[in-house]
Symmetry: C2
Subunit: 384 residues, 2 copies
């Protein structure tokens, strides 16, 4: 059986990958009198007097809602909230297994930006954190920005921040191998959706100076009018220092780093890789099919290649970051997730690999490496 058939079979057998359990083994009526009425009334009144104590007496401190509208699920597109549910359950499973975080999917039957913002705000009393997931861009940016401003609750956007963190970690280590500096290299980000924006922003925070972002209309530059939106306007302002114009082929020439998140198999050609500077670094991060086959990239001269896939070396896998980062956020009691916390996560991931182990095929830890969570939590707690 191929993986699709095996996945269908396993999902049918499980009928749900997550479940909601009692943390207390109820054995007597006295237990119930403490956990429910009449005992629980004292707990409710305590929280009524001091809302913040909900973090002490309930599961709020460790529980997040995974919010999607099903508009851009994996590489599958706008498949709706029901079809998004197995992905969100998978995400909830990863949050628990790799971060000890309780997460519940909330798949919304609306794609209206204002309505999504409002619903998240209205359901937020139950949750200590919010994870926005698989909402199409640019709507996702407004939803995330607004919730970060308007909610006193940590908000994460894995498509943007998670991808950014893990890509940065991989790039830090790749640059060590080719002995280039983040501040010197020319970096092309192909794709201006959530992942492209997230990667661009965190690379800038980490010291990158020369980034060009491309979308279907070529390089994003100040003064471009075609296919723009406020988020691309912002990209134009913070990238492309020489305000270069042209297509991806022009941009990539002499680039040191090419990070592709286009969602298009074969978008990166061997010719593009060949035109890059010495020791090309190519991250073809689209899933399930990379923007260029890693073997083709290598053939064309790429020294280091990373993808989103587990069956090639150097998997840039968000799961390395989001469960452990949220674990740290909850352990710290932080009400906002800051750039410093995201950078600390990336550096912890990069530093996880000691110099003597680092090589072209091991620039980023594997999901099965032990102690990643602990490294990230320690690093983030120092920044929060």
């Amino acid at each position: 059986m191929d993986i699709s058939e095996r996945a269908l079979e396993l999902h049918k057998k499980l009928r749900g990958k997550i479940e909601i359990n009692s943390k207390y083994p109820v054995k007597s009526l006295d237990d119930l009198a403490l956990l429910y009425t009449p005992g629980v009334a004292a707990v409710s009144m305590e929280i009524f007097k001091n809302k913040e104590s909900a973090y002490e007496y309930t599961s709020k401190w460790n529980t997040i809602a995974i919010i999607t509208d099903g508009s851009r699920v994996l590489g599958l597109g706008d498949i709706g909230p029901e079809a998004a549910l197995p992905v969100m359950e998978g995400k909830a499973l990863l949050f628990k297994v790799f971060g000890g975080v309780d997460a519940i999917p909330i798949c919304l039957a609306t794609q209206d930006t204002e309505e999504i913002i409002n619903i998240v705000k209205k359901i937020s009393p139950t949750f200590g954190g919010i994870n926005i997931e698989d909402i199409d861009s640019p709507r996702c940016f407004e939803i995330v920005d607004r919730l970060e401003k308007e909610l006193d609750t940590p908000v994460f956007h894995d498509d943007q921040y998670g991808t950014g963190i893990v890509a940065l970690a991989a790039l830090i280590n790749a640059l060590k191998i080719v002995k280039k500096d983040m501040g010197d290299v020319k970096i092309i980000i192909a794709g201006a959706g959530a992942a492209g924006v997230g990667i661009t922003k965190i690379l800038l925070k980490a010291g990158a100076k020369n980034i060009l972002v491309t979308d279907s209309k070529g390089v994003i530059f100040r003064g471009r009018t075609e296919n723009m939106n406020p988020y691309k306007e912002n990209l134009a302002n913070i990238t492309n220092p020489e305000n270069i114009k042209g297509g991806i082929e022009d941009a990539v020439e002499n680039a040191d780093v090419l990070i592709a998140v286009t969602g298009k198999q074969g978008f990166i050609t061997k010719e593009m890789v060949s035109s890059m500077s010495s020791d090309p670094i190519v991250f073809a991060l689209s899933n399930p099919e990379p923007d260029i086959n890693p073997n083709d990239a290598k053939d064309a001269g790429a020294r280091i290649v990373a993808t989103g896939r587990s069956d090639f070396p150097n998997q840039v896998n968000n799961s390395l970051a989001f469960p452990a980062l949220f674990r740290a956020v909850f352990d710290s009691g932080a009400k906002k997730i800051t750039d410093e916390m995201r950078l600390a996560t990336a550096y912890a991931l990069a530093d996880y690999i000691p110099a003597d182990k680092l090589n072209e095929e091991y620039i980023i830890p594997k999901m099965t490496d032990a102690g990643i969570k602990e490294s990230i939590v320690k690093a983030v707690l120092e920044k929060s």
Copy 2:
């Protein structure tokens, strides 16, 4: 320590009574490739092709949202969504322990009826059922009625239906003891909130003919103008066959059954009980303090007394009904919860006690009695 102190201590220790767990022991990258990307994509596409298959491939089939706005929590009143959370977590725990149902609290930061209806509809793709809880009346009635009509998902309202089911079960058995018929007895329901309405409606379905409902303005009758709303208008139309007017004292005279859900300790006086017919049946169901102390009711001549408390005989406890009923609903795949299913639950609860065990102090099963869930599930499945 008293129960409040013990409950606070236990809640602080647990920091949440429920948790969200993986149902699958993740051991390898291959497991993740099946449970998450890339394998999960096939599952999403299957559901995209056929929405109903979400019930086969995800946790939707067994998961409910417990929805509250915190406007009428237990007997504590409008304490808000955060303070409602420990109660809703307790409810979720009961759903799991006694029904095997996965339930997650969603405590809403709005008390706007239309907004609550809209939010529940918009989050419903994730859930196979909805339980409305501790929302003030009459708003709760509109919310429940509208959701029952507008959602293709079973909706339960424990304050109304759960209380009704268990009170009916207790009354069926109490009437067996005093050898009176449901169709003949005069029944007073004191209190016209969710519980009063729920009890009234199910008793009528079970054959009661002579019910008077009272609120703070006395008996509800056709033509009354004071303190009415559409739901009380409906009560006036379906109860009070002789259209009697007057106070609770007038109504209760010569009544066979008095069921009080007023939320007011001491609302029922010994004089009222003394004025009832032979073999008075008194259910003082307000929590945590009954509407009359059971010993006072007995002193005044009540033959059978039930309360909501576990420290007196005959506890009318909703937990006897809602977890098992929802178990049956999920096992049957029913998209609506019908009167027949609620009546079947009540009869199953009443019939659980065999004739030779039935007595004035054992008219309703105890939470610790074995096999209640199985009896209810069997009975409801026959009606669905």
